[in-house]
Structure formats: C-alpha cells, structure tokens
C-alpha cells in the first residue's frame, strides 16, 4: 500500500472505535464497583482500622494501609461510589435546570424572560467558580450538601447556553411555528417538540458535567470544603499530601489512578458521543473547569 493511499484510508475511526470500547468497559467496571458499594457487597469496612500503620501491599491489604491502618483499596473503591453519587446528582440536576432554562430562553428569545435568564447566566459565569462554591458553603454554614448545590448553581449555565442556541436553530426549522399555529401552548411546544430534539445535546452535556463535578469534588475535598462524613478521592489525596513527606506513596497512587482512570474514560466517551451525535456543535462544547 502506498503512503498516499494509506492516508486516505479511514483508519482513524477504526482506532477511535477501539478506544471507545475500552473506555466503555472501564466505565462499566467503575459502575460495577460503585454498585457493589451501594449494595454492601464490598468495601464496607473502609472506615475501620484493619491493619498496622502504613502496611505494605499484601493479600489481605491489596494496596496496603494508610497512616491509621485503614485499607487503602477499600477506601478507593468506596470513594468510587461517592464520585458517582456526586457526578450523577450534579449532572442530572444541572442538565434539567440548564435544559429547561435554555429551552425557555431560546423559545422566547429576545423577550424580557430571555434577558433575565441570560443575565443570571452571565452573572454566575462572571463569579469565579471556586469563590462561588466557597461563598455558598459559607452561607449554608458548612451544610453537607453545600458543595453539591454550589456545583449545580455553577454548572447549569453551560447547558443553558448550548440548549438556547440549539433551540433558536430548531425554531427556524418551521415545525415549531407549525405547532404554534396549530394552537399548541408554549409548555407543550417546549416539552413535546423542543426537548425531544435536544436529547443528544443534553446527553453530551451530562457527561461533560459529570467529569467537571468529579474533578471539582477532588479540589474541594482536598481543600476541606467538599465531602464530609464519607470517603472520596479528594480526601484520600489530602491524606496523601502528608503521606508522601514520610515517603509513603500508596494512598497517592491509589487515589490518583482511580480518579484519572474514570475521568479519562468518561472524557473519551464524551468525545466520541459528541462526534457521533452532534459533530456540528463541537465548537460549542464546554472547555471544562479546572
């Protein structure tokens, strides 16, 4: 095969397909791990002291133990469930609020309602994310759900922007006008005609928010204003920051590999999802929050 010919071969989709499948399997493995935690099958004793301080990896403690003698592998697996809880809750709430706000703003574009939603969106985007979270945690006096609420408040805006733009585009297609002329109420138009046509956008946004929420949780828990009364990769990394000064790396390796694997797999899936479902809006994608 000549080099020129090889360049025209669609070997890129084939490569991506394989990466897709691996990413999918990885996400399913994480999900299975989380399910087991929810069903109480494994990692139930993550908070108990089951060994010596900083025990080396062994058959009993696969990844050794931490400073207190707690099993690091159990903690990392239990933290998987926490990550899914935060990611799914924040993603679902954000796309519901953002989707509805975006559809309403787009359907009534140019109206005072649209202006109000745009103003709210612009205002929230102009407050730096971590300061908004800090302010909300402060106002709620350290409530355990303060972090979740803050993320939802901050993350619905991206979805609203994308959905608003898409709604305006769909509105030009004519069938919205037809439904309107046929006497459909705005509520019916939004729920029956607009939102079903936006499912792919919402799905892509959900995966992006899921990743953003998990990454933000790690930063916030590391700072001590995130997860409370539970275990998360961010809390493990906060411990690990102290551990490495004593030359102990298992906590760091476990938490960062678990975190990195899930974030990378979901990011790759989000990419593929976007390529397949909506190649046109690639440029609109959220560029993420670090």
């Amino acid at each position: 095969m000549t080099r020129g010919h090889a360049k025209q071969m669609p070997h890129r989709p084939w490569r991506m397909l394989r990466i897709d499948h691996i990413a999918m399997i990885v996400v399913i493995a994480y999900l299975a791990g989380a399910l087991g935690v929810w069903l109480g099958l494994w990692a139930i004793n993550w908070a108990e002291i089951t060994g010596a301080m900083w025990a080396a990896p062994s058959a009993e403690h696969w990844l050794g133990t931490n400073r207190l003698g707690q099993d690091i592998f159990s903690r990392a697996v239990a933290a998987t469930a926490t990550a899914f809880e935060i990611g799914v809750l924040v993603a679902v709430a954000s796309i519901l609020i953002g989707g509805l706000a975006g559809a309403v703003a787009g359907h009534f574009s140019g109206s005072p309602l649209d202006e109000l939603i745009l103003w709210l969106k612009g205002t929230i985007d102009a407050i730096p994310f971590y300061l908004l979270v800090i302010a909300i945690a402060f106002a709620l006096k350290g409530h355990t759900m303060a972090m979740h609420l803050a993320m939802i408040v901050a993350f619905w805006t991206t979805t609203a922007r994308v959905v608003r733009a898409e709604t305006i585009r769909i509105g030009q297609a004519g069938f919205i006008e037809a439904a309107h002329a046929g006497g459909s109420t705005p509520t019916r138009i939004i729920f029956r005609h607009l939102l079903p046509n936006l499912v792919h956008v919402l799905l892509i946004q959900a995966t992006l928010v899921f990743v953003a929420a998990i990454k933000a949780e790690v930063v916030l828990s590391f700072l001590g204003i995130g997860v409370q009364d539970s275990i998360s990769w961010g809390l493990m990394l906060a411990e690990a920051g102290q551990d490495i000064m004593a030359g102990q790396y298992m906590n760091f390796l476990a938490a960062s590999l678990f975190l990195f694997g899930l974030v990378l797999a979901v990011s790759l899936l989000a990419d593929r999802l976007q390529d397949r479902l909506d190649p046109r809006t690639r440029h609109l994608r959220s560029v993420g929050i670090e």
């Binding site: 102009a126 930063v219 961010g234």
Partner: protein
C-alpha cells in the same frame, strides 16, 4: 460627528452595558457572604448576650436595616475599599490584600504565560499537521493532561522534586532576589503549565483548524508561503477573538484554583492561603472582600477585553 466622539460614545455604551453584570455579581456576593453569613453582633458580644444587648448591637452595626439599604452600604464599602478588619488577627483587610496579592501574582504569572504560549505553539503545530501522527500525539496527550487533576499534579511534583530529588523547596516563600524567586517559583510554574496546557492546546487547536479552512489561507498555502508566516499572519488573526476571550476567561478559573491549592498546600503567604484560612475559620470580612472584589474585577475585565477585541477588529461598526 467626529470619529473621536463616536468612539467615546461606543466605549461609554459598552461599559454601561456591563452595569447589570456588576449589579448581579455584587448582589450574589452580598447575599451569600453578608446577608446569609453569620451575624457579627453575636461575635462582638461574646458569651450569652441578652436579647436587648443583641438588638442594640444589631442596630449599632446596621443589621436591622432593610436588605437594599444594607446592600447599598456593602457597595459603598467595596467601592471605597473600606473592607473592615479580619476576625483572626484584626489586621485591616485592605492591608492584608496589599500584602498577599503581589505574592500570588509572582507565584502564578510565569506559569500562566508559559502555559498559554506553549499551548498556542503546540496547537499551531498540531493544526498544521492536522490528522497526522504528530497531531494525534498532541491531541492524545492533551486529553490525558485534561484528565489529570490539579491536585494530582501538585502532589506528584512535590513527591518528585521535593522529596525524591530535593531540587526545589516545596514549602514556604523565602524570596529575597531573582535566584531565590526562581527557586521557589519553579514547581508552581510547572504545576500550572501541566494543569492548563491540555485544555488550552485542545481549544486553541480546534479554533486554528477552523480558521485554516478559510479561502485566503488555502491560497497562501498554494503560493508556498512559509508555515510560520501563514500561521501568524493569516490563521491566528482569523481566530484571535475566541482565543483572547478564552485566555481572559481562564484567568479566574485557573488562577483561583491554582492559588488556593498551591498556596494552602505549600504554605505560601498569598491571597489563596488567606482565603483558605478564612474558609476554615469562617472569617467573614476576608471572604466578603475576596469574593466581592474578584467578582467585580472579573466582570470589568471581561467587559474591557470584549471592548478591546471589538476595537481591534477593523470590521467593527461603531453605530
């Protein structure tokens, strides 16, 4: 009308359009950090105050005034930088900011500049070799970079350079001159570059690839102009606007997480550590100042950047 007056009117109108934004960010910061925050009257009275004492103190502090009156006095305090005293040390918040802001700037600026410039160069390279082996390598690496948490990067660098190799200090900020500055700023710079380069490269590459499809770029390529000439003269100019907007928007996202994480973890006396300690101790005057001022500064910065972009664009109509 002379062009000068027209330009002035355009700028005034643009700045006036940002007033609702400033209103919004100050309203939210006031509600969260002052209105819903702890009542300072309790803190000032000490243990077991009577209801009458409390009411008297609230009146004295203006706590019994209606919401909008308190919001107005909050705006006045922000505008005149009359920010009160910290609860922990009693230092003036204004002095505290003046002392810590330069440290944070020195800590973050090299990483921010380097991260942006390197990402732009990588993105140009990838866009030029689009779909080639190098492009795939660069885009693949940037997805991996995006998946690495800032926290992971900081701890890994601390382990490698601070604990294993012992090349650079990973605690404190004893800067007395250029040499000690370089010594202290290297790890934060490296961390900042690693944390930002993935996102930036990917975004810049997407913009550049898009701009490269323009007809005049194809013509320039056909005439055999050098890649550097085409990239800088034609492609970059075609997508300068989203790139500048993106850079401005990444300042608060990256600078604040970087400042919070690195200063609290490495004990660097910058604004991030002050904020971090204020979160843990619930120091209301500090949080009010940090949240309120940065929201206002950012809202203004976004407006000014937008204005500059539009003024730099020869296609702009001032009407």
């Amino acid at each position: 009308m002379t062009p000068g007056i027209e330009l002035l009117r355009f700028i005034t109108r643009k700045l006036a359009a940002s007033l609702p934004l400033i209103f919004g960010v100050t309203l939210i910061s006031f509600t969260l950090t002052v209105h819903l925050g702890p009542d300072p009257a309790y803190a000032m009275l000490g243990k077991n105050p009577t209801a009458a004492d409390l009411a008297a103190m609230q009146r004295e502090l203006g706590q019994d005034q209606p919401f909008w009156q308190r919001y107005a006095s909050y705006l006045r305090r922000l505008a005149t930088l009359d920010l009160g005293h910290t609860e922990s040390s009693g230092e003036k918040v204004r002095d505290l900011l003046a002392r810590t802001l330069p440290v944070s700037f020195l800590l973050l600026a090299p990483g921010f500049v380097l991260g942006t410039v390197l990402a732009l160069l990588l993105a140009m390279f990838a866009a030029w070799h689009r779909s080639g082996r190098l492009d795939r390598l660069i885009t693949g690496m940037s997805v991996i970079g995006m998946s690495l948490s800032f926290v992971i990067i900081i701890i890994a660098l601390q382990a490698i350079f601070g604990v294993w190799l012992g090349w650079f200090p990973v605690r404190g900020w004893e800067v007395h001159g250029p040499a000690s500055y370089l010594n202290h700023v290297t790890i934060p710079t490296l961390a900042f570059v690693l944390a930002s380069i993935g996102y930036n490269t990917r975004f810049f590459r997407a913009m550049l690839v898009n701009a490269m499809t323009a007809d005049h770029v194809r013509t320039a390529r056909a005439y055999g102009a050098s890649p550097i000439h085409i990239m800088c003269r034609h492609v970059l100019r075609g997508c300068l606007l989203p790139i500048i907007t993106r850079i401005v928007y990444s300042v608060p996202a990256l600078a604040i997480s970087g400042s919070l994480l690195m200063e609290s973890h490495f004990s660097i006396p910058g604004i991030g550590r002050v904020t971090y300690q204020a979160i843990l101790s619930g120091d209301q005057p500090v949080l009010m100042a940090v949240v309120g001022l940065s929201a206002v500064v950012f809202a203004v910065a976004v407006t000014v950047a937008d204005l500059l972009c539009r003024l730099a664009d020869p296609r702009i109509r001032l009407a």
